[in-house]
Each structure stands twice: as structure tokens, then as C-alpha cells.
């Protein structure tokens, strides 16, 4: 048990240590500096931009930046929607998989365009190799890069003095995809391939088992996708059970690599901020605040999962390795709990165990991660959410000390607060509103267990399944309490819309907010200024995040996981 906890601590330590040089590398990439990888990847970057007829010198204000973002995403949505609905008649389909049904395709493509990767299908039986490659993996690269680009634009705005130009969307996105995500993906894909993740274009194979039966083993071009789904906070797996499947995550070493891949760019982006703004102390304070939110969640999940399921312990079974329903022997309970926490505080959403089968309080941790959705965060976007909380914290702190609130020498006024509130309130509205509608439909349906048949589990856990689905959609996370029978028109369309709103509003509103801040002159900092790079501010921010970010979810937490926990004891 101690060795398991040591493994968790070691994993976190390795990831933090490596996130710093990667964060600095990203800062150089986005501010046009030179790196040792330039000879390989700069020509590729130039080629992509030239072929797309992008003028790399063109500077965009926030509106033009947002317009490029939305337009390119719309085109990608349409193109990939066409591919997966027509996959049955296209090439690279050795297992003869038919085109996807329209509401499921709407959900799937919305899910991958918004970097959510919520899946209401099982990849091995619902997508051709072509779709997995040029629809899914393609979106996993480009949407992650889009999120990083949006964050970089916001960082530039924060450092600006009467600034209107935020950079160029296509240049930033290309740099993120070609010079950050691609090199890391090449390395991670090669390493997990070595560990046993398949990479083949041949179809499923038939094995004649030792007991003489036939076993059909699905495989495909898996390694390439698994690398980017981990690194780009995408999370959508090749196979239904994601990185729980031994092909997606074959060994403890692949598990370590994939866990690292979930966190390293989201963590690195916090350091990138400090490099670009030349305020390393600010990065340290924000990173420490995020870590102080993350570590208690890890501790809760790990302790609950290695503690086991009391209902199974009551049968007298040896549960010394923890709660193992839905978990794999090669990872163990503690590393599964670490993954469950990491994948939900960032907006990754890949899994290496079944979250639906976690212990009651262990299962509360992924919920909390998605409700906050700002610890390290999705590639780029998580930090954007934290930025909103920073603005609110600055405002509250300013009110408390009776001064005009300001952040980095910029006044925070009514317009900024309105935009921050919009981004802040949408998240709970989508989750609580969506869950309320689903619960109402369930409660009023005659004999819902046969007429709707959504829920795998009865009682409070069934409520948790619905709550999880909307939390995951709104947070653009993508993990699930997979017992939910979610491939129905209601769930496909409702969570599809929640994902779209949950992606574009929290990108565009902060972009507008940051632009509004950027256009203001910098006031010289004085003794009376609020220092954002102090431990006091870190503590204030931590409290604001916990109180504002979590309190509104307290009632549903009590109805779901906490009620279930109390029922067992």
C-alpha cells in the first residue's frame, strides 16, 4: 500500500519537473523565438501556412481572431460529419463498418470539434479506420491546438499596453499543433507502440483460443491516436473502454507515460504564461494554487479506492489491493485513482478504470474536477477558466481592501465583470439545468426502466450517472459514468448542445474580456496596488475557486455520491 502511494507521488513529481522545460519551450514557440527543434518543424509550419494561404504577418484583433476560430471549426465540423456518416462507402474500412446514424454523428462530431471527446459509441465497432484517422485523430490535434491558441492570445492581451492586436489565429494554432503536439505525440506514440499498443491497417484478427473457441480481436492504427488523445486533453479512445483496454495501455510503463501526457501540457501552459509575461512569480503563485486544489482531490480518490468497497469487504473477500471492480491489475487502485483525478481536473476525459464503478466518495472526485474545470485545465482552456476566477478574485479582493480592482496594472471594471460572470455562470447552468431536465423526464416517464432504460444503476447512483453526463459535456471533459445508456436522440442532442455552448462561450467571452483589458493603459504599480504574485492572493484565489466554483454543486453532490456513501456505512 505504501509503495502504491509512493508511485502516485513519484508520478506527480516527475510530471511537475518536466512541465517546466516544456512550458518554456512553448513560450519560445509562441513568441517566435528559436528552439532546437526548429530545423525539423519550422519548415513544416511554414508549409502548412503557405498551403492554407495564411499571411503569417497578419495581426488580428479579438473579433477577427474569434471569427477565424469559429469559421475553421465550423468547416471542420462539416467535413468530419460528412466523413463519418459516409464511412461505409469510403476506403480504409477492413471490418466493413456502416455509416453513422445522424443524431449519433451530430453528437460525435460536436464532441470532437469541441475537444470534449464524449463518446456515445464504441470505436472498434462503430468507426472505420479512415474515420478514426482523418476525422477523430485529426480533430484531436487541431482542436487541442485551437484551445492553446486561444490561451496564448489571452496571455498576449494581459501583457499588452493599449493593445488591440492579439496575434494570428492560424499561426498560433499551427504552431501549437506542429511544434508542440506533433513532436510530443511522435515520441509518446513510439514508446507506447514499443510497450504493445498496436499500429496496423489490417482488420480484426481471429484467434483459435487454447480452449478451442474462436476469439475475434479488434485492432487498428491505435498507437498514433492514443498519444494525441492523451497529450491534447482530448480523451476519446480508440476502443470503448479507452485506456483501460490492454491495447491502449498495455503496461505500467505505458500507464506512467499516458498519465504524464494528460498533465504535462496543461501544467506547462501555466509556466508558459509566466515566460511570455516575464512574470515567473505569477506563474508560481497560480501553479501553487492549482496544486493546492489538485492534491487534496488526489488524496481523497486514492484513499477511497485503496480502501475498497465496504459492501464487498462485508462478504469476507481479501480486498487488500483496493476496490477492483472496473480496474486493471497492471495499474492497481492507486494509479487508477490518480488517473481519474488528473483526467477530470484537466478536461482530458480518458479513463484507465471505469469511473461508474468507483467507490461512492472516490467517484465524487471526478465530479469535483469537472465542476471546477480550471486546475491546470484542458490544453489552454482550463487556464482560461482559471483566468475568469482570477478576475473575480481580483474584484473581490479589491472590494475588501476598498480600492479599484486591478490585475497586472489594468483596472477591472463593469464590462470585464459582466463577461466574467457570463462565462462563470454558464457552466453550472448547463450542468444543473441539463440534469434537471433529464431527471424530470425520468421521473415523469411511465415505467422509465423499460420505456427509457437509460440507467444501469438504481437510486442515487442512477442520478449520478445523469449528472455525470452533463458535467462531462459542459466541462468538455469526455469521461462518463458509462452505465448510462446514452446513445439516444435525447442524450445525443442535449449533450451535443451542452458541449458546443460549454466550449465556445468560455473561449470567446474571456477573449473579449482579455481584449478589453489589453486596450487599457497600464497604471504604474504602487504600494497600494494589489499584488497578484503573492501568497496572499494565491490563498484568496483558492478560496474564491472553492466557494464560487463548488458551493453551487453542493446540493447535487449530496443527492448523488454523498447519499450513496452514507447509504453504505
Amino acid at each position: 500500500m505504501q509503495i502504491e502511494i509512493f508511485a502516485v507521488v513519484l508520478t506527480i513529481a516527475i510530471t511537475i519537473a518536466t512541465s517546466i522545460p516544456i512550458g518554456r519551450y512553448m513560450a519560445r514557440v509562441f513568441s517566435g523565438g528559436h528552439t532546437w527543434l526548429d530545423p525539423l518543424f519550422v519548415p513544416l509550419e511554414r508549409l502548412v501556412l503557405r498551403l492554407s494561404l495564411v499571411d503569417a504577418k497578419e495581426q488580428q484583433d479579438w473579433k477577427a481572431y474569434a471569427r477565424s476560430l469559429v469559421t475553421s471549426n465550423l468547416v471542420m465540423w462539416l467535413a468530419t460529419f460528412a466523413i463519418i456518416t459516409l464511412q461505409g462507402v469510403l476506403f480504409l474500412n477492413p471490418d466493413g463498418i456502416a455509416g453513422m446514424e445522424p443524431t449519433l454523428a451530430f453528437h460525435t462530431i460536436s464532441s470532437f470539434t469541441t475537444n470534449t471527446n464524449l463518446q456515445h459509441y464504441s470505436g472498434e465497432s462503430s468507426l472505420s479506420y479512415l474515420s478514426q484517422m482523418i476525422a477523430i485523430t485529426f480533430l484531436q490535434f487541431v482542436t487541442a491546438a485551437t484551445g492553446m491558441a486561444a490561451l496564448v492570445a489571452i496571455i498576449r492581451a494581459l501583457g499588452g499596453n493599449r493593445l488591440t492586436a492579439l496575434g494570428n489565429f492560424y499561426v498560433d494554432t499551427t504552431r501549437a499543433a506542429v511544434r508542440v503536439l506533433l513532436p510530443l505525440s511522435l515520441v509518446v506514440a513510439t514508446l507506447i507502440l514499443w510497450q504493445g499498443t498496436p499500429m496496423t491497417f489490417e482488420g480484426a484478427t481471429k484467434a483459435s483460443t487454447l480452449e478451442g473457441q474462436e476469439q475475434t480481436i479488434a485492432r487498428g492504427p491505435v498507437a498514433a491516436m492514443v498519444a494525441i488523445k492523451q497529450l491534447g486533453t482530448n480523451g476519446g479512445g480508440y476502443f470503448g473502454p479507452n485506456s483501460t483496454h490492454p491495447y491502449e495501455n498495455p503496461t505500467p510503463l505505458s500507464n506512467l507515460l499516458e498519465t504524464w501526457s494528460i498533465l504535462v501540457i496543461p501544467m506547462g501552459m501555466v509556466w508558459t504564461l509566466g515566460e511570455i509575461l516575464r512574470r515567473r512569480r505569477l506563474s508560481t503563485v497560480i501553479f501553487a494554487t492549482m496544486l493546492a486544489l489538485y492534491l487534496p482531490l488526489v488524496a481523497l480518490a486514492v484513499s477511497q479506492e485503496i480502501g475498497g468497497n465496504p459492501a464487498i469487504a462485508a462478504m469476507g473477500v481479501d480486498q487488500s489491493t483496493g476496490s477492483m471492480e472496473g480496474k486493471e491489475v497492471r495499474f492497481g487502485a492507486a494509479m487508477s485513482a490518480l488517473w481519474a483525478t488528473s483526467t477530470t481536473v484537466t478536461s482530458n476525459g480518458s479513463v484507465n478504470s471505469m469511473h461508474d464503478s468507483m467507490t461512492a466518495l472516490g467517484g465524487l472526485v471526478p465530479f469535483t474536477g469537472m465542476w471546477l474545470n480550471n486546475i491546470f485545465g484542458g490544453v489552454g482552456v482550463g487556464f482560461i477558466n482559471m483566468f475568469i476566477f482570477i478576475i473575480v478574485a481580483v474584484f473581490i479582493a479589491g472590494m475588501m481592501i476598498g480600492r479599484t480592482p486591478e490585475f497586472l496594472g489594468k483596472k477591472v471594471e463593469g464590462r470585464e465583470m459582466k463577461l466574467a460572470s457570463l462565462a462563470l455562470l454558464l457552466h453550472p447552468l448547463l450542468i444543473l439545468g441539463g440534469t434537471a431536465v433529464a431527471s424530470y423526464l425520468w421521473a415523469t416517464a411511465p415505467d422509465p426502466n423499460t420505456s427509457l432504460a437509460w440507467l444501469k444503476n438504481p437510486g442515487s447512483h442512477g442520478f449520478s450517472e445523469m449528472l455525470y453526463e452533463f458535467s462531462s459535456a459542459a466541462a468538455n471533459n469526455g469521461s462518463g459514468f458509462e452505465g448510462l445508456g446514452d446513445n439516444t436522440p435525447f442524450w445525443n442532442i442535449a449533450t451535443g448542445l451542452a458541449m458546443i455552448l460549454g466550449r465556445y462561450v468560455p473561449i470567446i467571452a474571456p477573449l473579449a474580456l482579455a481584449a478589453s483589458v489589453a486596450a487599457k493603459p497600464v497604471a504604474p504599480e504602487s504600494a497600494g496596488s494589489l499584488g497578484a504574485d503573492t501568497a496572499t492572493f494565491g490563498l484568496t484565489l483558492w478560496c474564491v475557486v472553492v466557494i464560487l466554483g463548488l458551493l453551487m454543486f453542493m446540493p447535487v453532490a449530496v443527492l448523488g455520491p454523498i447519499a450513496e456513501h452514507l447509504a453504505v456505512r
Binding site: 498496436p198 476469439q215 498507437a223 483501460t244 490492454p246 506512467l256 486493471e328 447512483h461 452505465g483
Partner: protein, 192 residues
């Protein structure tokens, strides 16, 4: 707006070719050149070249002369995988665990406290290829009886197929069930 749309379309096509196509090609080529066994799915063949399974994918073993893997919610269907998704308090789940426990206690002639929870809970993907060492050990007497072999010989094979934790830290010591059963057949012959 039209230039914007055109740029979006071109960018989509170019990046689709790069990340949907070329990137896969590079990883595929590395697989073919360096890791072809893994790239094909770690398939295990017998002397005649027939594929008997994958060392990474659990298959169903029910006969007494084989070690049994962890329960699978999808009956070891490697073309449609998944976990049970039962919540921890679900009565159906607990009933199933109880049934598996009773079957294991009767089949291996052990006490409930000797049964590791891995043998009564379904794995996440339904294809967990491993057993913890203890879950293999309690099966040794039964396998030895069924094969008319000395338990110590079986135990030696179990040890030979035990993978240690990575760097002594990551993952429990675990037994690869397919590898072990294939070795049993090789050593003691296939009993039909």
C-alpha cells in the same frame, strides 16, 4: 467572409492530410520496421502458425486444467469490450460478486478470506490479461490435480510467468494468464 471561409477550408484539408494521414504513416512505418510484433497486436502463434490469442488480451478459460482469468463483463469479447459499469452499491452487482465468491470458494476449496477481490470483480476493459500472484496461487492445487502434476512444478511455472513491478514501484507483481496456460500445455501436454 469568403476569404475567411476559403482559408478555413484550406487549413482543414492541409491539416487533415498531415495529422490524419502522414502522422499515422510515420508511426506505422516505425511499427513495421522496429516493433512489428507489438504493432500487429502481440499475437501468439503455435508451431503451425495458427494465431492462438494475444498476450495482452484475456481469453475465456473455464476448464480445470487451466488458470482462470479475472471475470469479464463482456465475456472476453475482444471485438466489443467494456466493464460492467456497476456502481459500488448496486444490488445486481453485489449478487454477482457473491455468486463468483461462492463458485471460487467451492472450486478452489478455500476460505472467502483467501479469495483476492480480483477474482470476484470484473476488470475495466473485460480483457485484463493478468492476475495478481495470490489469485494465481490459490488455483495451483486445482490445476495440479487436473493435470496430475506436482503442485511445485506448477508453482515454478507460475513464478516464471510473473512480471515484477516496474522499477519495483509501478503495478503489482502479476501473472500473465495466457502465457502461463500456453506454457502449461507445452510442458504437460494438451488434455482434451
Amino acid at each position: 467572409m469568403l476569404t475567411e471561409l476559403k482559408r478555413g477550408m484550406l487549413f482543414t484539408i492541409v491539416t487533415m492530410v498531415l495529422f490524419g494521414g502522414a502522422y499515422h504513416g510515420v508511426i506505422w512505418a516505425i511499427g513495421r520496421m522496429v516493433f512489428s510484433h507489438q504493432a500487429d497486436g502481440s499475437l501468439m502463434r503455435d508451431a503451425t502458425g495458427t494465431v492462438r490469442g494475444s498476450s495482452l488480451v484475456a481469453q475465456a478459460f473455464t476448464r480445470p486444467e487451466y488458470f482462470h482469468p479475472r471475470p469479464s463483463a463482456v465475456d472476453y469479447n475482444a471485438a466489443s469490450t467494456g466493464g460492467s459499469n456497476y456502481g459500488p452499491t448496486n444490488p445486481d452487482h453485489l449478487k454477482l460478486v457473491r455468486e463468483r465468491l461462492d463458485a471460487t470458494v467451492a472450486g478452489e476449496q478455500v476460505q472467502p478470506a483467501d479469495v483476492p477481490s480480483e477474482l470476484v470483480t470484473a476488470s475495466g476493459g473485460g480483457l485484463d490479461p493478468h492476475l495478481p500472484v495470490k489469485a494465481a496461487e490459490i488455483q495451483i492445487p486445482r490445476v495440479a490435480r487436473a493435470r496430475g502434476a506436482a503442485p511445485d512444478d506448477i508453482r515454478a511455472l507460475v513464478q516464471a510467468h510473473t512480471e515484477p513491478p516496474l522499477w519495483g514501484v509501478f503495478g503489482w507483481a502479476r501473472v500473465n494468464v495466457f502465457g502461463l496456460n500456453a506454457a502449461l500445455d507445452q510442458r504437460f501436454g494438451v488434455s482434451r
